[in-house]
């Protein structure tokens, strides 16, 4: 689950010219920054024609992109093991040598925990403490269907061009968000600092800070 975009610069170092075969939605030609208050906004945007030839980033759907990316790893010799949860790390002489799964142990020279900012494995391994609520932002995302042509009309885009937007708001409480144009959907997300969400109310019609999902 992500916003979001895949950046050309980092990804092409692993997969040169990946955009030729990867399932991408649109290539980003415009970055927007929306500064929101209760009833107004300031919009800063950067549109760059060069991004039409020297691609900068691409909007994707992870459910389509990840299997394609995993196939690259497989072609390079990796073994993909699905539907198996790594519950804990295995330590020998203070070194992490693998992971325990419900289907057996897997060993390796290097173990990479790719389970995100809220990594359970890292915590279980004793490598990090639980994050405090004010250090974390909780975001929710909705994928909204919108015909391809409507997206292009509303965002002033050519057939494969896209917009990537960051939203930053105040009122009440600091919040953030994102908006990405995909081929025929728009990804919209709202985020709130968890510390602020703790103070909010979840009852009907709440106008407090509340939970980001109520805002969405």
């Amino acid at each position: 689950m992500f916003g979001g975009v895949i950046f050309r610069h980092h990804t092409e170092q692993i997969a040169p010219e990946f955009w030729k075969t990867a399932p991408i939605e649109r290539h980003v030609v415009e970055y927007q920054y929306w500064f929101l208050s209760k009833d107004s906004h300031l919009l800063l945007s950067h549109r760059n024609q060069r991004f039409n030839s020297k691609y900068n980033a691409f909007t994707v759907h992870r459910a389509k992109f990840d299997p394609w990316f995993a196939k690259l790893a497989e072609d390079a010799g990796a073994t993909i093991i699905n539907r198996t949860t790594a519950d804990n790390v295995i330590k020998e002489n203070g070194k992490i040598v693998g992971v325990k799964t419900e289907r057996g142990d897997i060993f390796g020279e290097v173990t990479i925990a790719a389970d995100g900012v809220n990594s359970l494995l890292s915590k279980q391994a004793g490598l990090k403490e639980e994050l405090p609520p004010d250090a974390v932002v909780l975001a929710v995302k909705e994928v909204i269907g919108l015909p391809k042509q409507k997206i292009e009309e509303r965002f002033n885009l050519g057939p494969d061009e896209g917009v990537a937007a960051m939203l930053i708001g105040w009122g009440p409480g600091m919040h953030a968000g994102f908006m990405y144009t995909n081929r025929d959907t728009v990804s919209l997300g709202i985020a709130i600092n968890l510390h602020v969400a703790c103070r909010g109310r979840r009852d009907q019609g709440s106008k407090g800070q509340g939970n980001p999902i109520d805002t969405l």
């Binding site: 689950m1 992870r62 459910a63 389509k64 359970l120 703790c198």
Partner: protein
């Protein structure tokens, strides 16, 4: 003529895929602590999918609604949480 109605949160969440296991992957470690909750029921406030509810004198958990964001275990150390078994839990159509 098309009729529009506003989707509820439940309608939208229903569009995700959930494979529900027999047992819950999250639990309250010490339910007695909930009676004197030191976190102002943060679990109920932060969970985006209403997993936690206060019923009578305890927290009830609807684990099949869980989107595995982990917010609950950040705001309350009395919540036990592990990843659902392989293949279970939420999966997204778009991601």
């Amino acid at each position: 003529m098309t009729q529009q109605r506003t989707l509820t949160i439940e309608d939208k969440l229903y569009r995700n895929r959930y494979k529900v296991d027999e047992d819950s992957h999250l639990w309250i470690k010490d339910p007695k602590m909930c009676l004197k909750c030191p976190f102002n029921f943060a679990c109920i406030r932060v969970c985006p999918t209403d997993v936690f509810k206060w019923e009578e004198n305890k927290i009830t958990i609807t684990y099949d609604a869980c989107v595995e964001c982990g917010a609950c275990r950040i705001v309350c150390y009395d919540i036990g949480w592990k990843n659902p078994k392989g293949g279970f839990g939420i999966s997204y159509k778009y991601g």
